[in-house]
């Protein structure tokens, strides 16, 4: 009944990372997002909710925070005998090898693929934040008799963040994919989620490497759009591309629209994250909160407007937080104000201070800063 058809691979090798201080001590996958999550929670939860219970994570750099966050995979129900979560670090003798393409990584781990039972493999990245049922993608893939299905997002306005562009014909067959800086104009963005048979992936890995090519998408897929039947599956629902500071800020602010909050966190299925066991958020008599997302463990004695507070944030009396994102355990002391800012974890804003950014360029305070 629940026989595994798809295995998942979350590929963190060479992820676009223009997140500045947010990725100083962590990888993109563990950047906190949406008041209590890390970016990787979304794709990981999507996989689990779609019945994928064999998941490999190709980690690359600064993955200590990822190991800490993922643990045994319990929070995602991936610690079972019948399921498996594998964190696969680079197999390398030489630091230089880290700069080589991701195909090497696939090649080095081919035993992992060959040993797994599922027929299909879904390859994703961590910075595409959405809530999606991958079973629908498989259905589409089979209907279209596609070799590869790539998940796309349609939007009239340019998406925040950096994403490849996709052009497809009326049937949905992909005719062209260009990098984000390319000049091609298209309503479709590439969500960097590829579904194909495991057999095809192994073949692409070996033939591409043999030709001296070492990047999965750029070489193995992009150069074969004519030979292979690559189809675009269009994702309905919310998408946040989170790989630049502006896209981080802009997309976070979009969560403050109730329909986006509902769609991203509930539809079609819930998003899981590491359990923290904090108490419910506490609002005192002086609390003044509107249009904000507040996590458990917060203590609010001041004013919070149009903002996102992560777990355990303390906003003291007389303090004001506006248009800002305050990550875990941030403390805003009395009579200070924060506007258009992003505070990484454990930032303390001393009394009577004013911190102000602008919407097009939010002020960013690194982890554990005291201002």
């Amino acid at each position: 009944m629940n026989k595994q058809k798809i295995m998942g691979v979350i590929n963190l090798i060479h992820e676009t990372d223009e997140l500045d201080k947010l990725t100083q001590g962590r990888c993109t996958a563990t950047v906190p997002f949406g008041s209590r999550y890390r970016l990787i929670d979304f794709t990981l939860s999507n996989m689990v909710n779609s019945g994928i219970s064999e998941v490999g994570i190709f980690v690359h750099r600064r993955y200590r925070s990822l190991m800490d966050h993922i643990g045994s995979g319990k929070s995602w129900d991936l610690q079972h005998r019948q399921s498996g979560l594998f964190v696969l670090p680079p197999i390398t003798d030489d630091v230089q090898e880290l700069s080589r393409g991701d195909l090497f990584h696939f090649y080095q781990n081919r035993d992992y693929f060959l040993r797994s039972a599922p027929e299909y493999v879904l390859i994703t990245r961590s910075h595409m934040v959405c809530n999606i049922d991958y079973r629908k993608v498989l259905k589409y893939h089979i209907e279209k008799q596609a070799d590869i299905s790539v998940i796309c997002f349609r939007s009239d306005e340019p998406v925040l963040g950096k994403a490849r562009k996709v052009r497809m014909d009326d049937d949905g067959r992909v005719t062209e994919i260009q990098d984000s800086y390319g000049r091609m104009v298209s309503d479709y963005s590439n969500m960097e989620m590829y579904l194909m048979k495991k057999e095809l992936l192994m073949d692409l890995v070996e033939t591409s490497l043999a030709k001296g090519q070492d990047h999965l998408v750029r070489h193995a897929i992009l150069s074969k759009l004519n030979e292979l039947k690559v189809y675009g599956y269009v994702h309905e629902g919310f998408l946040a591309v989170v790989n630049t500071i502006n896209s981080y800020y802009g997309n976070s602010m979009k969560l403050l629209q109730p329909e986006v909050w509902r769609s991203l966190f509930y539809e079609p299925a819930p998003i899981y994250t590491k359990v923290k066991d904090g108490p419910p958020a506490r609002y005192t008599n002086d609390a003044d909160v509107s249009r904000s997302i507040i996590a458990n463990g917060c203590l609010i004695e001041g004013k919070v407007h149009n903002s996102i507070l992560f777990r355990g944030v303390h906003v003291h009396k007389g303090a004001v937080v506006e248009d800002s994102i305050i990550m875990q355990n941030g403390v805003i002391l009395p009579n200070s104000s924060v506007t258009c800012s992003i505070f990484d974890k454990d930032v303390i804003l001393e009394e009577n201070r004013v911190v102000k950014g602008v919407k097009s360029g939010p002020y960013l305070a690194g982890k554990r800063r005291v201002i």
Binding site: V289, S292, I294
Partner: protein
């Protein structure tokens, strides 16, 4: 089997009659408390923080929901290779199966379970109370004073003393007498229902008690008095902290309200003493423009567009525009429409309160209770009805 110095036996079979509709399909320890917890989370967390890793949970009344909640004890870190949590329902024996006849009989029937761990001491607690207590300190005192039994006691307000089982002690904290809910109390030292026994002593008394056909097989009524009679050393451990029996609607409501003080006497946020519970997997709460939330506890997954004052909201509650909620406890996944007014109420989980409904009244003294899953329409104006 690894030997354990002390194991805990948690009595969780209580029916909680006085909680009325809230315990219709639910054992009392599984009743919700404090915005995200169930009552039993407090004792289980106490066990784990006190270094106890072997807990037998004795269930009897309406165990389905409780069993599902407890699982194999994972949220409390009690899914252990040696020991951990074991759910102990009444079971069939060759001579036929019987219900747990009383608290002492419940332990008696599980002597084989306890013996597997060869403990020196057994901690007997119940899953009906809200408190944070380090049982290890109590055990230390038990050993230092060479007691056969140590009973935890707390000084309560004289005005309320007649609600409790009271103890008299001498200057060495030895217990000299008991009074069960006396009309005119002569002591204000209430028994917390937390006992540490030397296992060999307890075992012999349980066996003797079982043989006595006159006994009601209850700790408070039979076993402890028998030990008193035999002049065993019964010592009292004085607990200084927050403790509340949430056995009635009023006390459950009050205990929730206690959490809303500026400096609550029960700190739920202590990182060294987290109260563990099953994670409901909900996104962070959304407070809409035009909403107002003051002096309240609000949990994950809530969506608030109305006015919330001095209230406790569990996870997944939605409150529509122009609705006001005052001095109330709203249990998980309650949907509250627009222009609703709720005063001094406990709303059972999953209830739906439609637009323009009014529950309770601003000057009501009684706490209104809406049963689990109930559907309340606008014209039903419930005022102080249980």
């Amino acid at each position: 089997m690894v030997r354990k110095e002390m194991i805990a036996m948690l009595l969780a079979g209580g029916e909680g009659k006085r909680l009325g509709v809230l315990t219709k399909d639910l054992a009392k320890p599984a009743v919700y408390f404090g915005g995200k917890y169930r009552i039993i989370d407090f004792t289980l967390s106490n066990c784990v923080h006190s270094g106890l890793d072997t807990v037998g949970v004795l269930t009897q009344y309406q165990p389905l929901e409780l069993n599902r909640y407890l699982g194999i004890g994972t949220p409390w870190g009690l899914d252990r290779r040696d020991g951990g949590m074991t759910i102990l329902p009444p079971y069939m024996q060759k001579a036929g199966g019987v219900w747990y006849k009383g608290t002492a009989n419940a332990i008696y029937q599980n002597i084989p379970y306890i013996e597997r761990y060869e403990p020196d001491y057994v901690l007997v607690i119940s899953g009906d109370h809200i408190y944070k207590m380090d049982y290890e300190l109590m055990l230390q005192q038990h050993k230092e004073r060479n007691a056969a039994v140590t009973i935890a006691g707390i000084e309560v307000d004289w005005k309320e003393a007649s609600r409790f089982g009271l103890m008299h002690i001498d200057e060495d904290y030895n217990i000299t007498g008991f009074e069960e809910k006396p009309k005119i109390p002569t002591s204000n030292l209430a028994s917390m229902g937390v006992y540490i026994f030397n296992w060999d002593v307890l075992k012999s008394y349980l066996i003797a008690d079982e043989k006595n056909p006159m006994s009601t097989n209850d700790f408070g009524k039979d076993v402890i008095p028998a030990m008193m009679n035999d002049n065993l050393k019964l010592n009292c451990y004085i607990f200084d902290g927050y403790w509340k029996d949430v056995g009635t609607i009023d006390s459950l409501w009050e205990a929730n309200m206690d959490l809303l003080e500026d400096q609550p006497s029960l700190d739920l946020g202590d990182p060294q003493w987290r109260i563990y519970s099953v994670n409901p997997n909900q996104p962070a709460q959304f407070i809409e423009a035009g909403a107002s939330v003051t002096s309240s506890l609000v949990s994950e997954g809530c969506f608030i567009e109305g006015d919330v004052k001095r209230s406790v909201l569990f996870y997944g509650v939605s409150v529509g525009e122009q609705s006001t909620i005052t001095e109330s406890v709203i249990m998980p996944k309650v949907t509250i429409g627009k222009h609703v007014q709720i005063y001094r109420a406990i709303i059972g989980d999953g209830a739906v309160i439609e637009d323009y409904a009014v529950i309770g009244s601003p000057d009501s003294v009684e706490v209104t209770v809406i049963p689990v899953g109930e559907h309340i329409k606008a014209r039903e104006n419930l005022m102080g009805v249980e």
